[in-house]
């Protein structure tokens, strides 16, 4: 009887082992998977950085061809078979290469624009943000967590050193002479974040510090070569947000236009194709002329239940592109808006939390 029982139990155990082991060899995959495939080819078009979610590693890169209205998602992953990294943030183009900063991964990826294969990965950076190539053969990369700006050689993408900017740096603008770096954050480097630091890329020195309103987040140059800086006033609404106009020769403030309210957070200052109109987001999208002296109160495009995250304007035809991140946990949308007909002319799904967008011309 006892033997019988053991026999019976043994049988059941063996059966269970067979049933449960049978499925275990099917799949070798153990990381996150997705179904997007890329049809990327090197053409004129719009790159979209999908930031993904913090610590979730689900950022990606998309490419849109405005001529035939096609979109390629997961442009990096599908060629290199690895995730781009945690929070891809900005993209810059140089010599048939794209340079992408990946913020929370502390790295910069350099890829070949012909097929998007990886050329180089620069690691060990603390929190790379914006990338600015210069005619001096140097690439400057701002950093959120450090006052040191990273300097990379544009020939071989070797790290050549860093430049002490004195403060944490964010958005940058290069006017073929100087670099204007916004001091966006006071969080990691505890210095007031209400300035723009002017850097000479040749000597790699700070030559001027220009006061603006708190938390400057974006910077553009108009047709008169003047520089516009948009400040949100701080995430806690410490100050009234403002648009500051800087004279690039005198390195001085020409004009500061305060916003009508304090409890707002304007971002994504963008200039149109002619360099005479400014656009920015603040729930919805607003537009104004560079000659205006007050901030418009009427929206140019209404928010309409969208979570608008970023803006771009096609330098060729002036079409305005803006992103809608929806719930920030699914593939977001890019809406293409024709400013002449004042209507949406295309929309397409990209990756999670679409952020920075940049036009590329081969």
């Amino acid at each position: 009887m006892e033997k019988k029982l053991i026999h019976y139990l043994g049988k059941i155990l063996v059966l269970f082992l067979i049933v449960s082991l049978s499925g275990s060899c099917e799949d070798d995959e153990f990381g996150e998977e997705h179904n997007d495939s890329s049809t990327y080819t090197q053409e004129e078009g719009l790159f979209i950085i999908n930031e993904g979610n913090y610590s979730s590693g689900n950022g990606s890169l998309s490419f849109y061809n405005p001529a035939d209205k096609t979109v390629s998602n997961e442009v990096f992953y599908s060629v290199n078979e690895r995730p781009l990294g945690d929070i891809p943030f900005q993209i810059e183009f140089l010599n048939d290469h794209a340079i992408i900063s990946i913020n929370n991964a502390g790295k910069v990826e350099v890829v070949d624009l012909s097929d998007f294969s990886s050329v180089k990965t620069i690691t060990g950076l603390s929190s790379p943000r914006h990338i600015q190539s210069t005619s001096s053969g140097k690439i400057f990369i701002s950093d959120l967590e450090s006052s040191n700006m990273h300097v990379i050689s544009s020939n071989n993408y070797e790290y050549t050193g860093n430049l002490d900017a004195g403060k944490s740096t964010g958005a940058m603008l290069y006017n073929e002479d100087l670099i204007f770096a916004c001091n966006w954050s006071e969080f990691y480097v505890n210095k007031p974040n209400n300035t723009v630091t002017v850097i000479d890329p040749l000597s790699e020195t700070v030559i001027q510090i220009i006061p603006v309103a708190k938390e400057p987040n974006s910077i553009v140059m108009d047709k008169n070569d003047n520089i516009w800086v948009l400040s949100s006033g701080g995430y806690n609404h410490d100050e009234v947000p403002a648009l500051t106009l800087i004279d690039p020769d005198q390195l001085a403030v020409l004009q500061s236009i305060p916003f009508p309210q304090q409890e707002i957070s304007p971002e994504d200052l963008t200039i149109n194709e002619h360099g005479d109109s400014l656009f920015f987001t603040n729930k919805g999208i607003y537009g104004m002329s560079i000659n205006d002296t007050v901030i418009p109160t009427q929206e140019y495009i209404k928010k309409a239940n969208r979570n608008i995250n970023s803006l771009a304007i096609d330098p060729d035809n002036g079409d305005l592109y803006f992103s809608n991140a929806l719930d920030y946990q699914q593939k977001g949308w890019i809406i293409r808006y024709n400013r002449n007909t004042q209507s949406v002319c295309d929309s397409f799904r990209v990756g999670i939390n679409p952020g920075a967008m940049k036009f590329y011309t081969p």
Binding site: I12, L13, G31, N58, R82, N104, Y235, N307, N324, D327
Partner: protein, 642 residues
């Protein structure tokens, strides 16, 4: 190698206890069924109770491992000893209410419990109240409630257990328990210390094409040490006073996900708590009075040395509870009572101190109008601070289709709500003081079958339940459009339905025993409303809730040998709300073999357990690699004076 052999030698030199041996003398088939009959009102609801045999088997594990291998609750784990949160019936982590001897231990700031911080060997009984059935003991359990209870053992006048375990992750666990009775006084003391370097190799699948390079997990160490004290004093035949203390100190490093840069100095988290309870129970004739007060003091610190960040939360709970139960007849019982939970929270993340008074009046009525039909009616009236009163009703019935109670049909309807957590309301920046409570109705129906054959010493239990619930005002954090920080709002409407099935077979023969416990759970939790133009999340499964999950535990005891096999299947989990990305399913197999020696009044036992015996590469949460094969060596000693 030398070091390892020293560790092993030391290990054998240390005296330790045994779970395994316990089964033979304390577990009988009858005990299982008697326990079922004894439980009075709670018997009216759909619950799952880990009986003493299961508890013996799972004792060495943490609550998170226990729930993963023995219950339909899905555990989302960031790793061994790392944050483990629950999804019960497809609901969110804060929708599982966890109660220790009746008092809610969910963090008032986060609203959830971290299941890896609760070692099971300081608890004696685990009961799950599924879905709306949880209204019986608490509100807020939109997914369900988990009861962790300590039971007084008045049988043995002096018992000492010592337990020592080591693992191949450079970990060790030591626990001691002493149960002491003198006259009318019972003192039960448990101490434990758990520590692990938690060092293991994994394949880094962020690095190009397979084969992936092997790397070593670092910065994932953890430590937990604690004390559990349960004191009972029988004043006389009808009156018992009980005092309980649970103090614990926890520390863990927070390893980065693979896609995030390697930091020189790691983030870390520590927390300390003291939880105390004092209760008086009076049972005389048909009256039963129970009065309890509880005082909890907890602190929690998060440190990020690179960012120079430190967040500290301190919370206090003063809880009072009074209940009166009256046995009207053998077929009717009524209970009514009042519970007040007064929280006070201080946090470096808040602008101010915040208090919350959660008042709850409840009445439950168990009535058996007919021998075959048992009904349970519960109503709670709740008030939080100065908000309006919420009425939460629940009705359950159990109907015997086959005599005697072999096949039971059961059904439940409940209405429940969950108040926003303190962080939801007050976190600075982002907290939204205007948040409303999440609420919903739930319905369920199911069958329970039980067959006991005393001649053949066979017990068969099977159950299947279907449930449907809706949750309105589901709180979701997302970046705010007027500011650059995240803020919560009452955004989503979620429909959840599913099937839970279970099968248990217990077979005994002379000096051997076999037990098989299997569960399969199907969970469909869907986003029901379109919130944005182009929203593709409507009708899609919520993230990190597997549709399919199941587990098997087979236990064989032959003479002094034990063999335990565990199997866990976790289905595909989506990681995006439009279900465009997912984590693949995985299966884990664990095997344990143990032997026990009887030495006069003592029992010595030892066992070897191998987790993930097939060395499967898997991630439970995206980019957090989990360990492969892990070995555990255990030695236990139990000494008893009757």
């Amino acid at each position: 190698m030398k070091r390892i052999s020293i560790i092993i030698l030391t290990f054998f030199a240390i005296i330790a206890s045994s779970e395994a041996q316990e089964k033979q003398d304390t577990i009988t088939l009858e005990a299982v069924s008697i326990q079922e009959q004894r439980s009075s009102q709670m018997n009216g609801v759909n619950r799952q109770r880990m009986d003493s045999l299961d508890m013996q088997l799972i004792k060495p594990l943490s609550l998170s491992a226990t729930l993963a291998s023995h219950s339909p609750v899905f555990i989302k784990s960031y790793g061994q000893g790392a944050l483990s949160t629950s999804s019960f019936r497809g609901a969110g982590a804060s929708h599982t209410q966890v109660l220790w001897n009746g008092v809610n231990i969910n963090s008032p700031t986060l609203g959830q419990t971290d299941f890896s911080l609760i070692p099971m060997n300081i608890m004696d009984q685990l009961t799950l109240l599924k879905g709306g059935n949880s209204i019986f003991s608490t509100s807020g359990g939109l997914g369900g409630a988990i009861h962790l209870d300590n039971k007084a053992n008045w049988n043995d006048t002096l018992t000492i257990y010592v337990n020592q375990k080591i693992s191949s992750l450079k970990g060790s666990e030591t626990s001691v328990e002493n149960n002491f009775i003198t006259g009318k006084l019972l003192i039960n003391t448990r101490l434990f210390h758990i520590q692990s370097e938690n060092e293991y190799t994994y394949k880094n699948n962020t690095k190009g094409k397979p084969p992936y390079p092997e790397e070593t997990q670092k910065n994932a160490a953890y430590r937990q040490s604690g004390l559990m004290e349960n004191i009972h004093y029988k004043i006389d035949r009808n009156n018992t006073l009980s005092a309980r203390i649970w103090a614990q100190s926890n520390f863990r490093e927070l390893p980065r996900p693979l896609t995030v840069k390697d930091m020189k100095r790691n983030e870390e988290q520590s927390n300390e708590f003291v939880r105390t309870q004092l209760s008086w129970e009076n049972q005389k004739g048909k009256d039963h009075i129970f009065i309890r007060t509880a005082w909890f003091d907890e602190s929690y610190t998060y440190k990020n040395p690179v960012a120079g960040l430190q967040t500290t939360n301190k919370s206090r709970l003063f809880s009072s509870h009074a209940a009166y139960k009256y046995y009207i007849s053998s077929d009717a019982t009524i209970e009514t009572g009042l519970n007040s939970d007064l929280y006070n929270v201080r946090s470096s993340g808040y602008e101010d101190n915040f208090t919350r008074n959660h008042l709850s009046a409840f009445t439950s009525f168990m009535y058996r109008p007919w021998t075959r039909l048992q009904t349970l009616w519960v109503v709670r009236a709740e008030k939080i601070n100065n908000k309006k009163i919420n009425i939460l009703p629940s009705a359950s019935l159990k109907f015997s289709l086959l005599k005697p109670s072999r096949l039971i049909w059961m059904a439940n309807f409940s209405r429940n709500y969950h108040y926003p957590t303190m962080n939801d309301k007050y976190w600075n920046p982002g907290g939204n003081p205007g948040l409303e409570a999440e609420y919903g109705n739930s319905y369920e129906t199911g069958l329970q079958y039980k067959k006991q054959n005393k001649q053949k010493n066979l017990l068969l239990e099977a159950s299947a339940t279907y449930y449907y619930s809706s949750i309105h005002n589901w709180i979701l954090w997302q970046p705010d459009s007027i500011a650059s920080y995240w803020t919560p709002s009452n955004l989503k409407k979620v429909h959840s339905q599913g099937i839970e099935t279970g099968l248990t077979i217990t077979k005994k023969y002379k000096n051997s025993m076999f037990r098989l416990n299997t569960q399969y759970t199907y969970t469909s939790t869907k986003n029901a409303e379109k919130l944005y133009p182009g929203d593709a999340s409507v009708g899609k499964q919520l993230i990190y809730v597997p549709k399919h999950s199941g587990n098997v535990m087979a236990f064989v005891n032959y003479k002094q040998w034990d063999l335990i096999y565990k199997y866990n299947y976790t289905g595909k989990r989506y990681t995006t709300s439009d279900n465009s990305r997912y984590m693949p399913d995985f299966m884990l197999h664990d095997l344990e073999i143990g032997k026990t020696w009887e030495l006069n009044k003592a029992k010595l036992s030892t066992s070897i357990r191998v987790d993930n015996i097939l060395n499967t590469d898997y991630q439970s949460v995206a980019w957090y690699p989990m360990p492969g094969r892990v070995f555990h060596l255990k030695l236990g000693l139990k000494w008893k004076r009757n």
